[in-house]
Symmetry: C2
């Protein structure tokens, strides 16, 4: 494990890591299983060693993906996942295990087929984007209007695409921190609106992803209020390549596409909560979490079974250690993240008038199961404590803001201090929102490093006198 961490630091900390070499020196000098001994107490030592030696997150993620599988926000499977989480949280010894329900609109995928009709008939692998309206039941067949990038579409004149299917290509860049996602995702979020404004009847996009496998990537889209809603789907990268090569021949290319997704009205979702009650300041809360829902194409292993495994697994390590945290450690399995951070917003709604102002620090794991390579925080006091968390894990602290993760964002906006262990997401978008997001992609050693980091965060945030809020 030690050589693994050294190698990690050497290979993945590409930017903003001025102290990498110092960390590497410390790592090389270390004789234990982990990198650094700086400021490490016997308690921290015990937690890290137990986490690294264990398979807590690995086993929890295995259980969720095997016993539940796909679990879209609002679906019957997500309800089963909540029951699973309640049972699992109790099994690992969490207290006050409960579901905080909320209602939400539920979208369900239907048939999805597409093919090139002319000039070279052949099938294409596509998937509806989440929230898309359907095509007519017998599909649409129309000429393709090609835009190499989303910017090219936005720069196109109003009108002119009447009766056409817009194809938006554009490649996403790989980066450890997933920096390519935001720019690439604009076409997914706004592509239907921009195409409809110009008269198009449907849209296909090159998947927002970094792989070259024949998996289209799904993900939520949005319609502007005042623009006609047209169906939108993603093509796998090889299919987008195929379509581009076909278009390069200069002939008219026609596409047939049938999508039958439906909005099925309001359904129940919920956040599942479990706690280790603090021994001295039980009303003060350190919150960790992941999201319980997933997309429907895969089994939600890296997105975000791993986050459930890491946050619950870290709590399990602390419980098993017999150590008694001073503050309350709260684990939250958020519902319905993929479809609009609904669990994160519902959490704020449920807690804003009760204990939200007693949340001292929050973080989420929602970026896969690869090792953390840098630490960020948005705190008004106690940055030195976060630096200690980074130091004892041998992970560089970088002076950059964070909202703590997608589901932490809404509470962060309400003043909850946030920090984050940035995981290596270089390959995350190879799998993200595809059928290929399955348990076999998770490495037991790599996910255990994250569990260790979460135990350190939970323990040190519980033991310090600062509340990170500057109060």
């Amino acid at each position: 494990m030690r050589s693994f961490l050294i190698s990690l630091l050497a290979t993945t900390c590409l930017v903003g890591c001025s102290d990498v070499s110092t960390q590497l020196d410390k790592a090389a000098a270390s004789t234990s299983e982990v990198v650094s001994k700086v400021k490490r107490s016997p308690e921290v030592d015990k937690l890290i060693n137990a986490a690294i030696a264990g398979t807590h997150a690995y086993d929890i993620t295995e259980s969720l993906t095997t016993e539940i599988g796909p679990r879209v926000g609002g679906s019957p499977q997500e309800a089963l996942a909540r029951e699973w989480a309640v049972a699992k949280f109790k099994e690992i010894g969490l207290q006050n295990v409960r579901i905080e329900p909320f209602t939400m609109p539920y979208w369900e995928r239907g048939i999805e087929t597409a093919s090139i009709v002319t000039p070279f008939p052949q099938p294409l692998y596509i998937t509806s984007l989440g929230g898309s309206v359907a095509t007519p039941a017998d599909g649409i067949e129309a000429e393709i209007a090609y835009f190499p990038t989303f910017e090219a579409l936005k720069n196109a004149p109003a009108g002119g695409l009447e009766g056409k299917v817009v194809f938006i290509s554009g490649r996403m860049k790989k980066a450890p921190d997933g920096a390519g996602y935001g720019p690439a995702n604009q076409k997914r979020r706004q592509g239907a609106t921009e195409a409809a404004k110009r008269g198009a009847i449907a849209v296909v996009i090159r998947s927002v992803g970094t792989d070259s496998h024949r998996f289209p990537h799904t993900g939520m889209m949005r319609y502007a209020e005042d623009v006609k809603k047209i169906p939108i789907a993603a093509l796998s990268a090889p299919d987008a390549d195929q379509l581009e090569r076909t278009l390069e021949r200069g002939q008219t290319v026609t596409l047939k596409m049938t999508l039958t997704p439906k909005w099925l009205g309001d359904r129940q979702s919920g956040n599942v909560i479990g706690e280790i009650i603090g021994s001295e300041r039980p009303d003060e809360i350190v919150l960790v979490g992941g999201h319980l829902d997933s997309w429907d194409l895969g089994t939600g292993a890296i997105d975000d079974g791993a986050g459930i495994g890491i946050s619950a697994g870290a709590a399990q390590v602390i419980i098993e250690s017999g150590l008694k945290p001073k503050r309350t450690l709260r684990v939250v399995a958020f519902g319905a993240e993929e479809v609009g951070l609904l669990g994160g917003y519902a959490y704020v709604e449920a807690h804003k008038d009760t204990d939200l102002d007693k949340h001292v620090l929050a973080t989420e794991s929602d970026f896969g199961a690869k090792p953390a390579y840098e630490v960020k925080a948005s705190v008004k006091s106690g940055e030195s404590v976060v630096r200690d968390m980074a130091d004892v894990m041998g992970i560089p602290f970088v002076d950059a803001a964070t909202n703590g993760g997608p589901d932490i964002g809404p509470m962060f906006a309400q003043g909850v201090p946030a920090m984050r262990f940035q995981q290596d997401g270089t390959d995350y978008f190879d799998l993200h929102h595809t059928p290929d997001d399955t348990f076999d992609k998770i490495d037991a050693d790599e996910i255990a490093q994250n569990v260790a980091a979460f135990t350190v965060m939970m323990w040190l945030a519980s033991e310090t006198d600062t509340n990170f809020r500057g109060e």
Copy 2:
């Protein structure tokens, strides 16, 4: 390209390559684009350099996969591919371009869905094996009987599986020469028969493949004459993992599966042939080829668009060089290989009474588009000429038999001498028979090395006095 070839020799030639270091020394001493100058004539030099600098195979494969796409033996798409091949062969300057038709039974894929019903309901990604019978239209639902390997099924007692779906797992080993394929493929070929003998109503197998992506691998299966025909499908590796983890819980696992493939009667297929007529011995034939058909899930880029590209591309290089081979160089795009080497057998049938005894040497490319790393031959004379082919390409000759490739096998069995450039197939079975067999998987430099090798084979086999038959 040179450093690429050195790296290739250093990394892929794992067995039977006693002269790798010699080859590497030669490579390091070379100042040209290719590895070795041993026995290289100006003509050979010209051909190799033109092939390495060109994109002949790359372009031909791009054209086939883009303009035709999937092309199952006997399908309308395979007929379009024959028209494409006739046009392409003429375009590159081949002579005597013609189709040799044959009839064949045609099998077409239908609906294919599967899911775990109990204890943990979730969908599985499957595909029918080629030749499988259908399930009832509303599917079958039955308890799984698990066999970790095909051997375990064969060792099971007669009877005892009545009413069950047999699941045969077992992993395929990666190897440069694809040595894991034969053993792994037994369950695909014989699994339905062995399961039916014991009373089972259907079979699912872990895909014969080496990847961990969510693509099931199709491929032809066979029924024994005297055993009930039961449907058989392949699960992707992650789905097989999922099913195994589910079975490990010790509960009864039930599967629902619907497959609706059909045999649609006799259809036409054919071999497409083009030639460079020999200047001195036009009746003597050097044959190179690949197979034109593909499976239906991908676009048949590595299997075997690449083989069409390499063989036709090599002929194109020779035509463009202006060199005049003494013997006739014949390029064959075989039909219906995947469904039983039907084109290879039809070729023998069509030629056995005319010119088959005038075939002096034959080879096929049907193992992807990665570089060749060793050369084998089954010749009765002229082995030194084959060694020269290996030497000038800087590829080790190994003393091992070959049938020249799947479609060459039937003519080899009739006495046609065969040789083969063994391509690096380490990753071939990641893509083989899946939707992921697409053009983006081909590297222009790597496929060009194969074109160079084929030009060398065609030229030296044409120029020598031996007929490789020992006559």
